[in-house]
């Protein structure tokens, strides 16, 4: 199993050097990749249908519980077949759809990356591995949604999708780690043995909530649904692949995978039924107001995902079987409708259903596929959708308690709207009179309409002969979710009963709704008025706010003026130091220990302070440099007074050198400009004096503290004995800490090289501007 995942990743890498070849001759190779994987997984079907599971374990970081554990059961096999099977069709279709696109190879690279990540996700048997693949699907879908990266809308949608799903991933990982901590294992198939421990744990609701947020964001449930219509900016093959069959179903997969581990409690059922139920009605009604074919499909997809969440929440045997079947039903007809939309868009340049009509006359095979898919979506007898719809009604009707009526009503309403939505996207553009503008349209090449037609035929085939897939779905897949015997034979004809009546009502009312409802700009605008209440609007407002806030913050803190940075850093340091000094209590001075003042010391200090004043006040550069040297010499004298002959010598030399260099290099510069206003200067003076005062106080406080002389005494006693030198400072520098001094010399040399090269550098004429 590992190799099937790696196969996709490796092919992605191969596309880097071979991209240009793929563009021209070798493009036929691309669909072969998913096709071979599809055949590989198809070979597993008989064994898995008979109840076996396959697993593969490879150690990765066993000490952290992260391993390459893969497991293939009915649920993951269904998803694997969907991913690779529909993937094959999509690759085949996109090969023609994107012909001549400059980023052709890159597109397939992303698509392969996504496919592999998705395969990894459904095969993972390790919580952390699952999360890694989960995030990989988010990231690769970001690239796919934003594929038309020169359009602002496209970039924005990609970012929204990534933000929402990424945020969900963040919650998901927290939930997964919590679950693993409770159960003591990261292995998903091992969690089932800890079911009781997990459910009875006090953190169970929290872990479940985090898991739900992860699933809801990925599967576009209210209130996180809005990224999905936005993601329709992606090229149509991407919408068909990611947003009908695979990525959005990842959340469903997650819920189904955790159903046997955490499901079946009130904490599980009510949130899922409420969120799923609300989402399906909300999105199904919304779909009726759309004019863009892709938007209709997006909203019906959200509604279908809501149905699946709802069924998983219901959690009865019937509901799980219905969910298993509906996953395949929806993937087949929705992928077909998306692909058809892509063809219509490609040929006519429009997706507006109020303008498109009569296209069956020019695009007959396409119209055929669309029609079958729409009928399957409507749940007409002899289509696969009919079986799916029946099972949903069975599930809602057979719920215990007072609920069946309400739940069935909700399902009925959703199905009616879904039917009308499916007709709007799949039938409306192909019937009626053909406008003149479209008369000259040609049927696109076979490679484009073959995929939707095959998928549509499958909708029909599985509907007429439910036995082909029914046993597998109701037995292997539903078993993997439900954890107990679920086998039932899917039938076309159940006899005259309530379910049939409900189907008939759905059909009649839905068709009427389709005929009456004419989407128009006005209605769209009327709905748009409610946007201010929608989660999308609120989140956009929030992100705008964050954006403005951060701009404001950046402009005030990081404004590009060095002095403003200095001011902020100094003020902050002052605040911290004042707080710390405040805590440390009053200043104490040990008068006995102070050395007495002499007149020449006072004289030197006065000279120093005078020079300091001149440095600050003088407008002349030369004066300030000379005053700096006066300050240096004064300090030098103090070193002389207080027994530091080496320091005095060094200070003297260095100060002289600095002054000479300053004058030599900078004498050409003009005198200082007075740029600051008196007010600014006053403010800076206060800040500066404050800092000086704080440092003085710190010095006073430290003076009061006793000083440890151990190290100094060691150096003093051993200077001659160990190092044969009598000047202790020299001995420390040259012997005890000799290596430090060596590196200091290196620093000096580097500076010297820098100075020399900067002085030698002559300006090129181009630099003189």
């Amino acid at each position: 199993m590992l190799f099937t995942i790696l196969f996709g990743f490796l092919s992605t890498l191969l596309l880097v050097p071979l991209g240009h070849k793929i563009k021209s001759k070798w493009s036929m190779v691309l669909p072969l990749i998913p096709a071979s994987l599809f055949l590989y997984y198809l070979a597993y079907v008989p064994a898995v249908a008979a109840g076996s599971t396959f697993s593969q374990m490879i150690d990765w970081v066993p000490s952290l519980g992260v391993n390459f554990d893969f497991r293939l059961d009915g649920l993951s096999l269904l998803f694997c077949l969907l991913i690779t099977g529909i993937g094959t069709g999509i690759f085949f279709y996109a090969r023609t759809y994107l012909k001549g696109h400059p980023y052709y190879d890159r597109f397939f690279g992303y698509l392969l990356l996504f496919m592999s990540a998705m395969l990894g996700l459904v095969l993972s048997d390790n919580l952390l591995l699952l999360f890694v693949f989960w995030e990989l699907t988010s990231i690769s879908s970001f690239f796919l949604i934003g594929f038309n990266n020169e359009q602002e809308d496209s970039r924005k949608s990609a970012l929204t999708a990534l933000t929402i799903t990424g945020m969900g991933g963040f919650f998901l990982v927290a939930g997964l780690i919590l679950i693993a901590n409770i159960a003591g294992t990261y292995q998903i198939s091992g969690l089932i043995y800890s079911r009781d421990a997990i459910i009875q744990h006090e953190l169970y609701p929290l872990a479940l909530g985090l898991l739900f947020i992860g699933a809801f964001t990925k599967s576009a449930q209210f209130p996180f649904h809005f990224w999905l219509p936005g993601a329709m900016k992606a090229p149509t093959p991407v919408s068909a692949y990611l947003h009908s069959a695979t990525m959005v179903k990842a959340g469903i997969y997650l819920l189904a995978r955790f159903f046997p581990i955490m499901g079946g409690t009130d904490y599980w059922s009510y949130p899922l039924m409420i969120v799923g139920g609300f989402t399906m009605v909300y999105a199904a009604v919304h779909a009726l107001f759309r004019m863009d074919m892709k938007a209709i499909l997006a909203y019906t997809t959200i509604a279908a995902l809501g149905v699946l969440v709802f069924l998983l929440g219901l959690g009865s045997k019937d509901a799980i079987v219905a969910a298993s079947v509906f996953i395949l039903v929806h993937a087949l007809y929705k992928a077909t409708l998306f692909l058809v939309t892509g063809i219509v868009d490609h040929e006519t340049g429009s997706r507006d259903i109020s303008r498109l009509s009569g296209l069956r006359k020019v695009l007959f095979p396409v119209a055929l596929a669309a029609g079958i898919a729409a009928l399957s979506s409507a749940g007409l007898p002899f289509t696969f959708g009919f079986i799916g719809k029946d099972l949903i009604y069975e599930a809602t009707l057979h719920t215990e308690g007072n609920w069946p009526l309400i739940l069935t009503a909700v399902a009925l309403l959703t199905n009616i709207c879904l039917l009308a939505g499916g007709f709007m996207a799949g039938i409306k553009p192909f019937f009626g009179p053909l406008p003149q503008a479209y008369e000259k349209l040609h049927l696109p090449p076979l490679s484009m309409w073959l995929t939707p037609l095959i998928l549509a035929v499958l909708c029909l085939l599985f509907g007429i002969l439910p036995g082909i897939t029914g046993d597998f779905l109701s037995k292997a897949t539903a078993n993997a979710i439900f954890g107990a015997e679920t086998h039932m034979h899917l039938k076309i004809w159940h006899g005259f009963n309530t379910v049939l009546l409900l189907s008939a009502i759905t059909l009649v009312v839905g068709t009427l709704l389709y005929l009456i409802n004419k989407p128009s700009e006005n209605k769209l605008n009327a709905v748009a008025r409610w946007n201010k209440l929608s989660p999308q609007y609120l989140i956009n407002r929030f992100t705008d706010g964050v954006f403005k806030g951060s701009t404001l913050y950046t402009n005030s803190i990081h404004n590009g003026y060095l002095r403003s940075y200095h001011l902020k850093i100094i003020l902050f340091a002052e605040a911290l130091l004042i707080y710390k000094l405040w805590l440390s209590g009053p200043i104490q001075i040990n008068w006995d220990q102070l050395t007495p003042l002499t007149i020449y010391e006072v004289a030197v200090v006065i000279i120093l302070l005078g020079a300091l004043l001149i440095v600050i006040l003088t407008p002349s550069r030369l004066t300030s440099v000379v005053s700096m040297s006066v300050i240096g010499y004064c300090i030098c004298l103090m070193f002389v007074f207080y027994s530091a002959p080496d320091l005095a010598m060094t200070q003297f030399t260095i100060d002289t050198l600095t002054t000479v260099l300053f004058v030599l290099v900078l004498y050409k510069l003009p005198s200082f400009l007075s740029l600051a206003s008196p007010k600014q200067k006053f403010r800076d003076m206060i800040v500066a004096l404050g800092f000086g005062t704080i440092l003085s106080i710190i010095a006073l406080k430290v003076l009061y503290e006793p000083v440890s002389k151990d190290t100094s005494n060691f150096y003093g006693e051993n200077a001659y004995l160990l190092a044969k030198g009598k000047n202790v400072v020299n001995v420390i520098l040259a012997d005890f800490r000799g290596i430090d001094t060596m590196f200091e010399t290196v620093v000096l040399s580097i500076a010297a090289v820098g100075v020399y090269s900067l002085l030698k550098l002559r300006l090129k004429s181009s630099e003189k501007e």
Binding site: E601, L612, S624, D646, A688, V729, D740
Partner: protein, 118 residues
């Protein structure tokens, strides 16, 4: 004398801070030098100052017979003086180079090319 040195180092710091808040690059450099001097005095002071007893062992002795000034702050300051010279020297030359390129001593003029690009 300690109290006087406390005042001196406080004022050196204050002057240094005031100068690095200016727009002129030369003043910025002078400010940094003043901060360095202030720090040297701070270290010197905190090592306790001693008058007339340099940490040098007498000509015919092997160990100190008398009290002596603390050699550690002195070696630290010596290092600091030398390193700050390296910094200053490099900064001075760099200043000259910047002046030759942008013909200004104003730090804000270094920001402008970016804005002109817009």
């Amino acid at each position: 004398m300690e109290l006087l040195l406390v005042v001196v180092l406080g004022l050196l710091y204050a002057a240094g801070i005031f100068l690095i808040l200016r727009r002129s690059m030369v003043k910025l450099l002078l400010g940094i030098m003043l901060l360095g001097n202030g720090t040297n005095i701070l270290i010197f002071l905190l090592g306790t100052i001693t008058k007339g007893k340099p940490p040098v062992i007498g000509p015919d002795q092997n160990v100190f017979q008398d009290i002596y000034a603390d050699p550690i702050p002195q070696s630290l300051i010596l290092t600091a003086i030398v390193i700050s010279f390296a910094l200053t020297a490099f900064a001075i030359v760099l200043l000259k180079r910047v002046y030759a390129l942008v013909d200004s001593d104003d730090l804000d003029d270094l920001n402008t090319p970016e804005e002109e690009d817009l």
